[in-house]
């Protein structure tokens, strides 16, 4: 009733919104700005991935995945005669897999256990404290983690740059990611499921192994894959812990190479420029593949 009274006092023209008056115009301009800025943001992804593919694809061949990198002289000769640079990054690929493998062996069991602990004791003060510390750990810059692991492992345990040191550094970076994703995916499980198992008199470890872990499995996998994809491209901590190695190495107490470390070496050697792009393309492709895989697993669950 009130509304009709208000409307009755106005002229019809006042009730028709004016498309070009100040307020409407501002509204439109703002939307245009939002769209332009958003396109600008995502264009960066396209630019980076695009230039990587354009500059890197012609160097990708069989040798790239099966041979060690050439020395500067070989690369210079190939460059001068206009051929593709011989050799590949097999030492980096094996090194990366080795480092990430050991890091996962350390970080996944501990991460999942601590995640379960936080989930089971979510109301306790101590668990809240652990959760806060985990967040702090996640925010520590990777170069600082490299410094720490240098002091702990390189100086004290292996007395030199080593696979072990690099893996420990990567594991410390993975740990907070896995803890949080484990806790988050356990929280998604309906309480009734757990209660049903407990009501049957199931021992606690069986509840964990047969109910909690299987029903949050895709969440766990997503978290693990994302954590691996995050550390795969880490370079700074590896520079301080594993240094690099021109040959394939399986000795855990000796230095090893990794794809990002090789990119850094190629970057510092003007003759190797072509290899930079193909190695980056490879690294990028691998990281994106893991990202997409984890998204796919997460989407399949829903």
């Amino acid at each position: 009733m009130n509304q009709t009274n208000i409307l009755a006092g106005k002229k019809v023209t006042e009730l028709i919104p004016d498309l070009f008056s100040g307020r409407k115009l501002k509204d439109r301009l703002f939307l245009i700005g939002i769209v332009i800025f958003s396109l600008l943001t995502i264009s960066m992804v396209v630019l980076i991935i695009g230039s990587m593919i354009l500059k890197g694809y012609h160097q990708i061949n069989w040798a790239f995945f099966t041979q060690s990198p050439p020395d500067t002289f070989q690369a210079m000769m190939a460059k001068m005669s206009g051929k593709t640079i011989p050799g590949g990054i097999i030492n980096g690929i094996t090194g990366s897999l080795y480092l990430v493998g050991i890091a996962s062996l350390i970080a996944i069991p501990f991460g999942v256990l601590i995640g379960i602990y936080l989930y089971e004791n979510s109301k306790k003060k101590y668990a809240g404290f652990i959760r806060d510390i985990t967040d702090v750990l996640q925010g520590v810059p990777s170069i600082v983690i490299g410094l720490i692991v240098y002091l702990w492992v390189v100086v004290e345990i292996t007395h030199g740059y080593s696979v072990l040191a690099g893996s420990v550094a990567l594991a410390i970076m993975m740990l907070p990611l896995i803890i949080r994703s484990t806790e988050e995916s356990l929280k998604m499980i309906p309480d009734t499921l757990k209660e049903a198992a407990i009501a049957l008199g199931t021992p606690y470890y069986k509840v964990v192994m047969r109910v909690l872990i299987p029903s949050s499995f895709s969440g766990l996998m997503t978290g693990i894959l994302l954590a691996i994809s995050r550390i795969l491209g880490e370079t700074a901590p590896l520079m301080l812990t594993t240094l690099g190695n021109p040959a394939i190495n399986w000795n855990i107490a000796k230095p090893v190479s990794a794809v990002p470390l090789l990119i850094w070496q190629f970057y510092n050697d003007p003759n190797m420029v072509d290899l930079i792009w193909s190695s980056s393309l490879f690294l990028m492709g691998f990281v994106l593949l893991l990202n997409i895989l984890s998204k796919w697993i997460a989407a399949r669950q829903k």
Binding site: G139, P203, L232, L240
Partner: protein, 284 residues
Amino acid sequence: MNSDKILKYILFTASLLILLISGGMVFSLVRGAMPSFHEFGWKFIISSEWDPTQGREQYGALLFIVGTLLTSVLALLIAVPLAFSTSLFVAEYFKNTRIASVVSTMVDLLAGIPSIIFGLWGFYILRPFIVSIGLSDQGYGIFTSGLILAFMIIPYATSLSNTSISMVSNELKEAAYSLGATRLEVIWNVILPNARSGITASYILAFGRALGETLAVTMLIGNSNRMPTGLFSTGNTMSSVIANQFGEASGLQLSSLIEIGLLLFVMTTIINAVGKFIIKKLNR
């Protein structure tokens, strides 16, 4: 002892690992920084002298602290409008549409690109571009690194703000629309006040990320140990001086680098704690 107790005991023991790592981290950093602290004391933070020449070694971190703060603040200034627009695009204007999911996937991809690849791209493509439009002679410097850093932190700035923008209740928005508000007015008067703390927290966390970024900045800032004089001047940051000099460092220089690491650790931890504190207050 029954199996339940054993498992509980195992879980609790595992949680001690976190305390061990973080406690050990602080302990080792402080112990490693001690020689440098004994030599230079608090002057370390306010001195801009960095001279590793044998015999007259002199170390101060001011140059690097300034470099880190300048690049990170610049990165944040560039990232905020971009991240804010992207958040509104994904969580408000085109919410739940196909194009929004494409954009948010692309932003996630941005988070997946390793730091060294950002650095390479900045070095080989952005730097020549900056030279060619005549902004600076070499293309290195605060501006170039800040620009690349900005794109590196956008994913961190958007993830949490997206959630807080999309959580603003529809009833509030509809109430404003029914009063005749335009979309911009709804965003400004309803969404922003309600999502404010979430958005602020995510920008603070993104700033924390920028402080610790290493390789991309190392490749672009020019690594010169002098006080930056302007946007296009070269400089050095805390993380890049560690990355550059760690290999050859020993003795007092190594200790000074570790002290820089300690300072960086303290700075990022404070920034992150502030961000998490805001989030905690938000969730209550």
